[in-house]
């Protein structure tokens, strides 16, 4: 089963600077959860703590708990490499490896495990992953071509294929459509709908319509004040959030009165 994620009392620091404070939420399995909020409020930072990618930035650290299926991600015995294998990530800008073919890009994660893969087995993974990312029909005749030769939207779907090729439990998406045109965006949104039957999906987006279209639940992040840390203002089912939010700030943001 795809897994749910429990976040409790999460504080995120860059050096001594407290970037995000006191986040509590439960991200449900096999649902799409969207994080919305103004720029700089820490949505992407929170997302990156869910697979320990924020550690890549020097000086970043967290307090609090993130628990996936009973296992705490920040337990000292936990290996961040193992975490990232099972909690995949798709980034803002499509980032296929420039020197690899489409085929090798899809298998990049699998190859890390370096068990000898049979050619047929590898072919299967490539085909099923590309089909899963709705890209198979567009690229099946040119799998040996460089991944950088694709259009932006295709590249982003290639990155999704690469992420699901290692069969993760959770997919994190950090503004996956912000660098794409409307048609490619629609393709990705359709894909998110299909993927949620198998994966728990968390998506950060600047686009409130997108959050309303793709997500089941929504978290609204905001800064307490300029210079203060970001925090989670409200976490509710998307329908409720967009029709009858609990919090005034949420309503103001959603109705476009600020941000």
């Amino acid at each position: 089963m795809a897994k749910s994620i429990d976040v409790s009392d999460l504080n995120i620091y860059y050096g001594n600077f407290l970037a995000v404070e006191g986040v509590n939420m439960t991200i449900k399995a096999r649902q799409v959860t969207a994080f919305i909020g103004p720029s700089g409020c820490g949505k992407s930072t929170v997302l990156r703590t869910l697979n320990r990618m924020h550690e890549v930035i020097p000086g970043a650290r967290v307090e609090g708990k993130v628990v996936v299926d009973g296992q705490s991600l920040y337990d000292p015995t936990v290996d961040p490499v193992a975490v990232r294998r099972q909690i995949g990530m798709v980034f803002q800008r499509p980032n296929p490896f420039p020197t690899m073919s489409i085929y090798d890009n899809v298998l990049a994660g699998n190859k890390l495990n370096a068990k000898r893969m049979k050619r047929a087995e590898a072919d299967d993974i490539v085909e099923s992953s590309l089909k899963g990312a709705n890209l198979w029909n567009e690229v099946k005749d040119r799998l040996d071509r460089p991944g950088m030769g694709l259009s932006g939207g295709q590249q982003q779907r290639l990155c999704i294929a690469r992420a699901i090729a290692v069969r993760p439990q959770v997919l994190l998406m950090d503004e996956p459509c912000s660098a794409l045109d409307p048609i490619s965006t629609a393709a990705i949104e359709d894909l998110i709908h299909e993927l949620k039957s198998e994966y728990t999906i968390v998506i950060v987006t600047h686009n409130m319509q997108q959050a309303a279209r793709v997500s089941d639940e929504t978290g609204f992040f905001n800064l307490k004040a300029t210079g203060e840390p970001g925090h989670l203002v409200e976490f509710n089912p998307t329908k409720k959030m967009f029709s009858n939010p609990d919090n005034e700030a949420t309503e103001a943001y959603i109705s476009g009165r600020f941000g």
Partner: protein
Amino acid sequence: MADLDKTASLDRDLQPLTNPQLPAIGPVLAAVVAWGAAGLVALLLGWNIAGWLVLGWVAFIVVLPAWSSAVEGKRSAIDRLVTSLVWSTFVIAMLPLIAVSWTVIERGAPAFSVEFFTSDQSGVIGVGGGILHAVIGTLVITLIATLISVPVGIMAAVYLVEYGKGNRMSRILTFLVDVMTGIPSIVAGLFALALFTLLLGPLPRLAIGGSIALSVLMIPIVVRSTEEMLKLVSNELREGAYALGVPKWRTITKVVIPTALGGIVTGATLAVARVAGETAPLLLIAGTLRSVNWNPFEGGMATLPVLIFSEATKGGAKPEYVAAQLERAWGAALVLIIIVMGLNLLARVVGAYFSPKTGR
């Protein structure tokens, strides 16, 4: 971990996130074990400290990945092996720096005395005398080279960044500066030698020739560093000045260059440090005079690097002469290193103090 299970993807369980891991002090422990065991072997076989360190390193490179491989698996083991190797390269790279500094201080410091800094080698055979003539020679020749190179280098960089802007002349100039950067120092010396052979006849000895040879080496360094710094000055600053009706040349001298001054001074200082230690061109053209000469336009001059070379290689009639010459060479090397490192330090301080933040 994480076997590929395509068929039952809907009912996958979360794989354990806790890989078995070495304790945080694992590498330290492995190091202690490795060098401890190596110490025993070295004692038994009567090896020296170098042998012990090398053997311990080999043991460490084997023990840590082997342990990691048993506990954490192959991928972590490779990662730890590479990490150890990469840090080892750094330690190895440090060895010559430490060894050279140590040797120069150990063998150079005994040469220091009042006489060493206040007298020259005129009339000295073997023992005695000082290096005053070489210190003066280095200062004079380097100073003249700086006076030639810095204005020429800065103006050429100004041309490249402010006036040339990718036209044909500036592309050729950029290419030629690249070529100049790669000129071997001895070739610069040959150039000066050939130039003054034509002017003065065979085997000329002229200090100003040394300055010219050093300038050939120094100008491209100054151009490169100044160019980098001028490019960092933002265009808004220039346009802001133009918009106030300031003519271009005053914009450059009053706005652009002052903004980049820290970096330009740093670059020039590093260039001085670089050429102050140059030997080959000075050996060819400035020669090995044994007494003080202040006039760069008449006769040669001794310089510290050339003095080091000639004292180390000339040999002598008696063993104590050779010993005294070697001591003099090491003493001069220490003085030269102090000058060069001092200039480097100065450049860093200036750079840290003035330079605009370059992002990294």
